[in-house]
Amino acid sequence: MSVLDQRWELAPQVSVRPEAFGALIYHFGTRRLSFLKDRRLLAVVQGLGDAPTARQACARAGIGPSELRTYERALARLAETDMLRERVG
């Protein structure tokens, strides 16, 4: 299943700090710092917790079908590095 069809939220140990270019995202458990390289990815990440699926969070952030692959990859990477966790319930 694609990450786009799953329900996600920010992991509880993660902080997001918006910046002009996008955002910094930091995991206090792994001590890993990553960069959200544009403001729309920030909007997607911020919207994950309220959206039924990541795909919908992307749609709400104005990500068009042609760009979806890029954002899917970005979200998959964030999930792999424990920045995101699957939401239950």
């Binding site: 902080s15 910046e19 002009a20 206090f28 458990g29 710092l33 960069f35």
Partner: protein, 403 residues
């Protein structure tokens, strides 16, 4: 992760807050390392009080600075050290602190182990990481720089950490002419104690200015270090220390830019904010956390920081094919060796730094603005002291804590 060029440009123009910053809590130190970049030894009577330090932490929390690198001096001999550490972690500011190991007793090690493995994992911001400084893989090499007995002190600290189950603490090494040949031995020490190796660059800052000529790696050793990092770089931390080596061809892991005043800075024990930990000099002083706007006001409004975030002249480096990767190297290293800021790094891999150094008139390089070295220590003539330490501080700082 790999960082695309446009992102680096954003960093070069500065962020709303530092990614992290170095915070030296005290100039007091039980050691008198010959290359100390903050010329530490005696406490400064104007050091931030506990309340002032907590106010800084409040600001860092508001600015979402994820963590601070606490150093000194020897930070653990501040009587309120643990109080400040607890305050920071309770306010979502992670703590990484550097120590020579003097206070890393079995009890402290147990405490650090508990902090790293709290129930349900580490809460947001609630971590304390420790970094033990060691500049030789043998007592002979280490103690020649850090002082008699300092190797044994660091080893005892690492034994205590390992015995308490602290995994992945850092073993931090400043690379010198005498220890470049010991890189594998350092890795073996780190492995023995379950630590992670961290290598950083020797800077001609503080007392380091006086020994840099004799201690900095030779050109051949720099190449050796670069090759070693390319092979082992995934396991080893460098704090982005060696971006000037990118001129050899391949970038080492990290942002590979000078973050001074852009993504990092230094707060010194008296609250002065400098562009970076290696630039304790009035020329790089941006303000003080006691100023009306606090730390945030300095970070956002300082004329110095604004200029660092503007376009930088490549100067003599403009025509060099390596400039895009090394960006002229380290500002502080140039400054304290008397080289122009818009020219090559003194350790330029193309050799242009050596050429430049041969034209610097001996004694003409700027001297550090502050010196807290203890009388009778190795070192440095006192140049200019803006604040006169009181007599009470002119003793071994450990005594202050034991009282």
């Amino acid at each position: 992760m790999s960082v695309a060029v446009p992102l680096v440009e954003h960093f070069a123009h500065g962020l709303d807050a530092p990614i992290c910053l170095t915070w030296e809590l005290t100039y007091a130190c039980n050691l008198a390392c010959r290359h100390c970049l903050s010329s530490s030894g005696r406490r400064d009577p104007a050091e931030l009080s506990t309340a002032e330090a907590k106010a800084v932490i409040d600001e860092l929390e508001r600015m979402q600075v994820f963590y601070v690198n606490i150093g000194g001096g020897e930070p653990t001999i501040r009587p309120d050290f643990w109080e400040l550490v607890d305050y920071a972690t309770a306010h979502h500011v992670g703590v990484k602190f550097s120590t020579n190991g003097v206070r890393i007793t079995p009890e402290v090690a147990a405490r650090l182990a508990a902090s790293a493995r709290g129930p349900g994992g580490v809460p947001r911001g609630g971590y304390v990481d420790v970094q033990i400084s060691l500049d030789g893989a043998t007592a002979e090499v280490n103690d020649a720089v850090r002082g008699e007995g300092s190797y044994a002190m660091a080893v005892r600290a690492m034994e205590n950490l390992a015995a308490a189950g602290v995994v992945g603490f850092k073993l931090s090494v400043v690379c010198t002419r005498h220890n470049i040949g010991q890189l594998d031995a350092f890795q073996a020490i780190a492995d023995r104690y379950g630590a992670q190796l961290r290598l950083t660059r020797l800077r001609p800052s503080g007392r380091g200015a006086d020994v840099w000529g004799e201690l900095h790696p030779t050109a051949a050793q720099q190449r050796q270090l670069y090759d070693w990092l390319l092979t082992h770089g995934e396991r080893v931390l460098t704090g982005d220390s060696f971006f000037h080596l990118a001129g050899y061809g391949e970038s080492l892991p990290g942002l590979n830019l000078c973050g001074a005043g852009r993504v990092v800075c230094l707060i010194d024990p008296v609250g002065d904010v400098y562009a970076c930990p290696f630039a304790i000099h009035d020329a790089f002083r941006a303000g003080n956390v006691r100023d009306a706007g606090g730390f945030a006001g300095v970070w956002r409004g300082s004329a110095l920081f604004r200029s660092l975030r503007g376009p930088q002249a490549a100067g003599a480096c403009a025509a060099c094919s390596a400039y895009d990767s090394c960006r002229g190297g380290c500002m502080a290293a140039k400054f304290f060796t008397g080289l122009p800021l818009d020219g090559p790094d003194p350790e330029c891999v193309k050799g242009f730094g050596e050429l430049g150094l041969s034209n610097v008139e001996p004694g003409s390089a700027p001297r550090p603005s502050l010196d807290h070295s203890r009388a009778g220590g190795s070192v440095v003539p006192v140049v200019l002291q803006r604040r006169r330490p009181d007599r009470a501080c002119d003793e071994n700082p450990l005594a202050l804590v034991l009282r």
